[in-house]
């Protein structure tokens, strides 16, 4: 559906995007993950045609995004820029009416489109409220409604939950997930839970470069280290000697526990070696009190990928 090839963008001497490639399939929710200033917003602005890239290309439905195809392809996209910029002088209806008109919705269909978008985004009770008087949550909903007004195939959402309270975040995430059943969505975020909650696939960008790509589950596997934390009764040296015999062990860390004669050991392996660890401890006649497999969180993965 969307193919981004070797995208490059400079802001003066600063390289905001450096040969970024990725694809989004139809009906997929792709998260662009990265720290602030990583280049996510720039990538989105290029895909929506707001900015031009210095090199590389964007294809939507197999058609190259360029000057002559710009307006036609833009009509396939609904875009929610960062912080949902709106005209404070207009009311909700006027805002949606304007967006419906510029997207080419015929006058006779406009009212229906406005009501549908408002209903979908839970804006019916605020339909004639001034934009300047809306809460942050309602402004975000209006931003989404104006992106949805022309029923686009593609939605591009730049940090859609920024500034919302926890309830609003959950609500917007549910809403995006439900939209993802019908539409292709690219969203940017630097919130790991958001990726796990919503995205089918993740592209990690750092300092303008693509540093990781995959499903939220597989992303950790690209450079993964399993950590098994064990609590045992015994001598640290003996324990370490026996554990080192296990294959795939990367490193071992141990520290004394609060209990006398008990130590806590973290075994870092390149694969899940829990059963081998248990067998090795049994052979060494070391008393195992507790074993925990620590799954890498998205935070760990994010940190690892973006601190390289």
């Amino acid at each position: 559906m969307i193919t981004v090839k070797n995208l490059q963008k400079n802001y003066g001497p600063l390289r905001a995007l450096d040969n970024v490639d990725f694809e989004v399939q139809q009906g997929e929710i792709l998260a662009l993950l990265g720290p602030n200033g990583a280049g996510k917003t720039t990538a989105m602005k290029i895909i929506t045609g707001f900015l031009k890239s210095d090199a590389g290309s964007v294809e939507i439905d197999g058609e190259l995004l360029e000057e002559k195809s710009l307006l036609r392809l833009q009509n396939k996209i609904g875009y929610l820029p960062e912080n949902a910029p709106l005209y404070p002088e207009l009311n909700v209806w006027e805002h949606l009416d304007f967006m419906a008109s510029v997207h080419g919705i015929a006058k006779e269909d406009r009212e229906k489109a406005i009501r549908e978008a408002a209903k979908t985004c839970g804006l019916m009770e605020k339909l004639y409220a001034d934009v300047s008087e809306l809460s942050k949550g309602y402004k975000q909903r209006l931003g989404l409604a104006q992106a949805l007004i022309h029923d686009p195939e593609i939605l591009i959402l730049d940090e859609p939950t920024t500034g919302l309270d926890p309830n609003q975040i959950i609500e917007i995430r549910k809403f995006i997930t439900s939209l993802g059943k019908k539409k292709t969505i690219i969203l940017s975020t630097h919130i790991m839970q958001e990726v796990e909650a919503i995205a089918d696939r993740v592209v990690v960008i750092n300092k303008g470069r693509l540093v990781g790509e995959g499903t939220p589950e597989s992303l950790g596997g690209q450079d993964s280290v399993h950590c098994t934390r064990i609590t045992i009764k015994g001598c640290p040296k003996k324990t370490e000697r026996h554990l080192k015999k296990i294959k795939n062990v990367d490193r071992i860390e141990h520290r004394p526990s609060k209990e006398k004669g008990v130590i806590e050991v973290s075994v870092f392996t390149t694969e899940d070696m829990r059963s081998d660890i248990v067998k090795a401890l049994a052979l060494a006649e070391l008393e195992l009190l507790e074993i925990i497999s620590e799954k890498q969180t998205m935070e760990d993965i994010f940190q690892k990928l973006t601190q390289k």
Binding site: K45, T48, G49, F50, L51, K52, L71, R72, Q74, N75, I77, Y79, P81, E82, N83, P85, L86, Y87, P88, E89, L90, N91, E94, F98, M99, S101, V102, H103, G104, A106, K107, Q146
Partner: protein
């Protein structure tokens, strides 16, 4: 060839007018404009004792000098500051349509302001023998002059995110274009440069129209001035991409 979609263009104009009239800007502008122009005109009108509106139209370039930049200063700078330009230029609206929509919105607003001064002309026609040909030509000249101010103010607004900067720079540049052909400026210049300044001056062509005759040269000058700054505006927005 620039293609303008009629429905989108109308939507853009409607939005601009709503932005004016849904905020106090429009009403403050209209009140200040009507008060200032009427007061400045009538304070000398009774002294002169002639039924003509030359004095009224003579002061318009100076009133416009401050009022029109106050209308145009926010047109692009505010779109950039608030980020709404992203929504606007990704909603399948061409840059040309967006620029023309804003220019037309401001022009309609200015035309409305001038229309509201029409009772001045009507009341004068009751007092004496008003030459309607001269008055209507002067209104046409004021519209051309106003549109020239708008196109330049709009262009300058596209260069900065700061409304105040846009206002001050617009006033300064418009002031330069207004006085360029004045005797006090051209007197110190070589002949060829003096006549070039007169040709490029907004004031010279306006004064020429106020005489009651629309010279093609004046009309073409204003048209070229307006088109030039609208095109520069389009180019600036495209370059900012």
């Amino acid at each position: 060839m620039i293609q303008i979609n009629k429905d989108k263009f109308q939507a853009l104009v409607r939005k601009e007018l709503r932005l004016y009239f849904n905020s106090p800007i429009a009403y403050i502008f209209l009140v200040v404009f009507l008060l200032l122009s009427s007061w400045l005109f009538f304070r000398t009108f009774f002294l002169i004792g002639q039924t003509e509106m030359r004095g009224f139209f003579g002061i318009l370039p100076w009133i416009f000098l401050f009022l029109i930049p106050s209308l145009t200063m926010r047109l692009w700078s505010e779109e950039y500051r608030q980020g709404t330009v992203e929504t606007l230029l990704t909603s399948s609206v061409s840059v040309e349509e967006a620029v023309l929509g804003k220019a037309a919105g401001s022009f309609i607003f200015l035309a409305l302001a001038l229309l509201l001064t029409f009772p001045v002309a009507i009341s004068l026609s009751f007092v004496g023998n008003l030459d309607w040909g001269v008055v209507l030509t002067a209104y046409f000249g004021a519209l051309l002059l106003g549109m020239a101010y708008i196109s330049l103010g709009l262009f300058i607004s596209s260069l900065t995110r700061n409304q105040i900067v846009a206002f001050i720079v617009s006033v300064l540049v418009l002031f330069a274009f207004l006085i360029l052909g004045d005797g006090i400026v051209t007197a110190f210049l070589p002949n060829w440069l003096g006549s070039l300044c007169k040709t490029l001056s907004l004031g010279t062509h306006y004064n020429s129209i106020l005489r009651g005759v629309i010279d093609t040269r004046d009309f073409i000058f204003y048209l070229s001035f307006i088109v030039l700054f609208l095109l520069l505006n389009v180019q600036t927005l495209k370059t900012r991409r």
